[in-house]
Symmetry: C2
Subunit: 275 residues, 2 copies
Amino acid sequence: MTPVDCLVDGRPAQQVPLTDRGLQYGHGVFETIAWTGGRAQFWQQHLQRMQRGCERLLIPMPEPARLWQEVKQVTAGHTGPAVVKITVTRGDSVRGYLADSHSPARRIVCRFPWPERQSPAEGISLALCRQPVGYNPSLAGIKHLNRLEQVLARQEWRSTEFGEGVMLDQQKHVISGTMSNVFVVKDDRLLTPALSGAGVEGVIRGVVLELAEKLGIGPQVAPVPLHQVDLCSEMFVTNSLIGICPVKRFNGKEFASPGEVTATLIEQLADSLEQ
Amino acid sequence: MTPVDCLVDGRPAQQVPLTDRGLQYGHGVFETIAWTGGRAQFWQQHLQRMQRGCERLLIPMPEPARLWQEVKQVTAGHTGPAVVKITVTRGDSVRGYLADSHSPARRIVCRFPWPERQSPAEGISLALCRQPVGYNPSLAGIKHLNRLEQVLARQEWRSTEFGEGVMLDQQKHVISGTMSNVFVVKDDRLLTPALSGAGVEGVIRGVVLELAEKLGIGPQVAPVPLHQVDLCSEMFVTNSLIGICPVKRFNGKEFASPGEVTATLIEQLADSLEQ
């Protein structure tokens, strides 16, 4: 899973300068995109999230047409699914937190092999991470490069027993997985944690919320105390590579896997993919 | 202020691989060290903080003797003061938050020119930053590479009117400057914010706390509500390059600059420098 093909500011490269603000401070954003059927799935949604992140982090957003050109370049001649990762940093600067207002953003576009291990159709078990998520409204929602909490949470298990880990905030509310968003079904309605204080607003999360709206099964976006998960009938996690992945076990509770609502959403998501 | 001379894992270089976890997730720590009089000031304290940070971030701490060798190498033949920045990241890994347990840490050791603009002896004015500091006990104290809050706060002013900006937490407690620690003097006793939920435990902060202990002027390490600063007679900020820098103005309040306690501490700090 090392990058196969990378462009840095449009040129083939495998390195960035030490002066890059992504390296120095995590001053950047990234998108992990499923490249399947010769297309970047949910490209517009990825671009929109990147745009929102760049605005909040005061990074000049690269031209979408240029990013698209570079995605096509790293995937050219590649058949079958792949992962495309786009990182945009605030570019280079001298030592110190103040960014050079004239310095352009840096674009890093890489193709990676599609993960070998697929999410099992029968669902995964989730670990409960001890590492909490901090409270940080000013950065919440953005897929930025300050990912130490997720990094520390992910080191808590190496067993293949768990497909993902769930992170809580200080008040023991479920926020997200380490690399996914979390949904539960309660009384036939879909519920997912509000991400106003922490977490990443996943692209698939947004798509699922829209699907649920159309299906008339909520959705409710609200705080989700850990103990409330016990009262739920279904649970699943989402991200751009796994799509919707049913959960069969979490925190001592077994779920229908996939449950009815989850199965319906999986089907609807497949229909909405650009084939 | 671009790096003059850098070693990456012991070899002259100006770049890191795209697979570096410092770039990908901010998975690393750094130290900014004053190189004056042919010595790395407070070298042991910098090493100790780096060690604590590495332990908490699950990074194998590089051998101090090796780091010292590399610091000597980048400063060799250089007369006069300079800035040495050491960054240690979790090294390379495949895409994904899980670190490769066999992968070594990466060492980046660079020399930078000493800042041209010195802190004025008569003190500086501080801005009050709108950007808040998040609540994050699991990362508090560490000088890690997840510095987006400080980055955003530092973009709030470009005028030379302000020498530094003060950051508050969500409860309007003073936490720190964007690149410094904050001290106030109240009733002849030294007070500095507790950093259990946010902030960086600066090396000079530690030294000043020890000096204050010896002088019998506190120190008190406790939450500092913003409104309490109005009741203080002196204020100063600290970091490894400016040492102790008196504050003459903050949030509409004027301070003696330097006040008596500040002047004494400046003198004592100078005495404790390894000449």
